[in-house]
Amino acid sequence: MLIRISGGRVVDPTAGRDGVGDVWIENGRVVAASERVPDRTIDASGCVVMAGGVEVHSHIAGGNVVMSRLLLPDLYASEAAPDGHPFAHAGGSAAWIGANYARMGYTIAVEPAMPPANALATHLELADIPLLDRGALTVMGNDDHLLQLLREREGKAAVRDLVALSVATSRGLGVKCINAGGASAFKDGMLKLSLDDEIPVYGLSTRKIMTALLDAVEEIGVPHPLHVHANNLGIPGADDSFVATMEAAEGRRIHFAHAQFYAYAVADAENPATGGFRSAAERITEAMEKHPNATYDVGQVAFGQTVTISLDILRQFAGRKGANPKKWILTAGDAEGGGIVPFVYKPRGAVSSLQWAIGLELMLLSKEPERTILTTDHPNGGPFTDYPHIIHLLMDKEERDREIAGLHKVIGERSGLCAIEREYSFSEIAQLTRSGPAKLLGLSDRGHLREGARADVAIYRDDKNRTAMFARAKMVLKDGDVIVEDGEIVNWRAGRTLELTVESDKAMVARSETYLQDRFGAGVSSFAVPDEAFPKADVFEDVACRA
């Protein structure tokens, strides 16, 4: 079917496009303007037309997300059922996640923390998220098998082969390390870990583990750079860890998760642990400009109750004291495990206000929004449903000032946010939420509207109230099918889970079989994610490695 989206303001920064025009779609792809009469014309006059939004870091599936629902079952409200998907009204459910992303114009979301030991359950859950394409990053960096290889100095080829096998077996889209070595160190009694601290038993450091993974990811040709959750998240001086980690990459591609939680400089040098923090957004921005190999997602804070979910069990154990309400879960898992700590970001609280300001400051200082991805690290900084409001704040200085006026004065004292006049343009928003994250994931046919692009398109009514504009798209197309009209789901189609096509080395398969049998009483097949396990066919879609 030939579709013409007509007369909208088409915003595609990858093509230098920001003006009224048409977008043509046929067979699920964007095509060149056609002389033929379209089968359907969508009137987009008065609207902004963008590629579908791309989410790179949102905790939407997996054992820890499940545990968070059980720990805090009242976090999301369930509403009376409308027609359509049976569970989309069930707050926090997989269907609710898919529906809420789609309403905002997002068409793909990536779960950033899939432990290989729990891959099947994670993928079964992802497959129940309707409407969106999905993906998951395979977490490595604390597993005994990898740490053994590194301790025994087995060489880059062995590490590469183990990483490739782990990604292939877990059907991941990329690789992530979370406080590399931190979970192992925590299990052995440590409560703090920095880049070069020795990890007990293995004689390794975060630097050694992370750089080995950086090399492996490059050698395999994983399109998405190593996704790094650095040491010392959320503590004063975390900016030192962030910059040191960036330098440790030594020019290799690296993506930093939730940078806002690291943009905390020590406020009082004489009392670093107790003197609180101030914004390090300028320092982080300068470091990013010096390191074009690096990208980050923001991890913006949104005010209100949330629940933090992280495989960084060392950090989550430390964070238990701040649990609100006072309950928390920590699992020492087969590699990382997970920590679930409820938390309230208080609008009148100094710490929360400063965190909120730092996230915005990072985005507003960035000269390259494509390397500065909008996330809330859902649900750690707040729910992804806050994106429209965050976009509003980025695009509207007046709105920002109004919000700041109701917050703690520390924002003016310890951050540079109040002095920033910048307002994001639609093109920059598209870079922040479309082209940037698509490039980061290596998905060349997403995040733009050039010929050949996947026909994932979001159409928004242009409204000065950007919150309203981006919260409920006028129309969303997924692979050319209309899935949202006037902010409501009209077609509950299923998306696909993207997996990296990667070969496994036979010798490493045999070696891993022995290792896993010894440790788990079950071999590689026990970690597999077979198609037969899924209630429906065609769940997965291949993504090729880089040449």
Binding site: V65, V66, R69, L70, L71, L72, P73, Y76, S78, E79, A80, A81, P86, F87, H89, A90, G91, S93, A94, A95, W96, A117, N118, L120, A121, L124, E125, D128, D144, S184, F186, K187, D188, G189, P200, V201, F317, A323, K327, W328, I329, L330, T331, A332, G333, D334, G337, R519, F520, G521, A522, S526, F527, A528, V529, P530, E532, A533, F534, P535
Partner: protein, 359 residues
Amino acid sequence: MAAWVKGGATDAGAAVDAAATLLAAARTPVVAGLCAELSAIRAAYHLADAIGASVDPVAGASLYAELGSLSRTGAMLTTPAEAIGRADTLLIVGNAPWDRSIVQEIAESVPSRGRAAGTERSILSLGGPRNGATRHVAYPAETGGLAISVAHLRAFLKGHLAGEAAYADLAKRLAAAQYGVVLYDPSELGELGVEMLQGMVKDLNEVTRFFALAVSDPFQGRALLQLAAWTTGQAPRVGFGRHVPEHDPWRFDSARQIAAGEVDAALWLASLPAPRPDWLATLPSIAIVGEGSPEAAGDVADIVIAVGVPGESTGGALWNERRSTITYTPPAGQPAELNAAGVIAAIQDRLVQMKGASC
């Protein structure tokens, strides 16, 4: 394939039609059992939503002994592989865990990973068998039961109780662990006992690393728990009477509901072995059960449909206790003609057809 309607053998299509007719006439049905492969449990939740049923798994009692405590205070947990590989101290609470293979596996090995690697492993028991085959130091339960015993042990650990009591000695041993694990059965320990135990584990982590490990129920409860959470955002016992999942473990306890006369039809799903409830034959009912099982008989329910048994005559995603996660188990033999997910979906499709025809 075997199916029965009112005791008479029939084909699958007729049984599905009869099941749909039975459910269409029900106002307050219950979907229970759910001891099955994950795809079947998934289909059951979808059916329950469609017909406004409540859902209650046979694993409910065990699950809720954990879940109440979990949602009130949280937990510190570990996995079987970590317990086997790292624990230098294992405390076994109660009698129930002793039947599990993990006890033997831990008893026959030494820690191989982490700071305790190579050290001798200490196995302790609280309220367990005194003369078991496994060498261990046994501490008897107090007269008040396991939960009270755990409370007293915790008090010694916290310094709220002092003296030369046996529990003081046990408390010292626990605090001296480098990586301690406490193994227990939630259904034996009870909800308050679990909460006290988790509190004790959290206290221990102020000085060392110590984690809890619950033995799994044998009815796929842990796999179901995950699916329930991602499907409804809630724990398993929910009602869809108002077409929104309402979680209420007391209200949607199927045995209570049926005893109170609140239910007018039931669908029992057990493609894996599960104890058949007494109430099944007391109300209009459908049983979807594993082929070759004792329940695959015409007198078990009004409508009985025999389906593939996961791991035997059909594949399925199942709870793997040793791995502490969901894994896929292929069929070991000839695949069955029907699987539970397909049958439930067919019943739902038939209900939709009937609803369409009546408009």
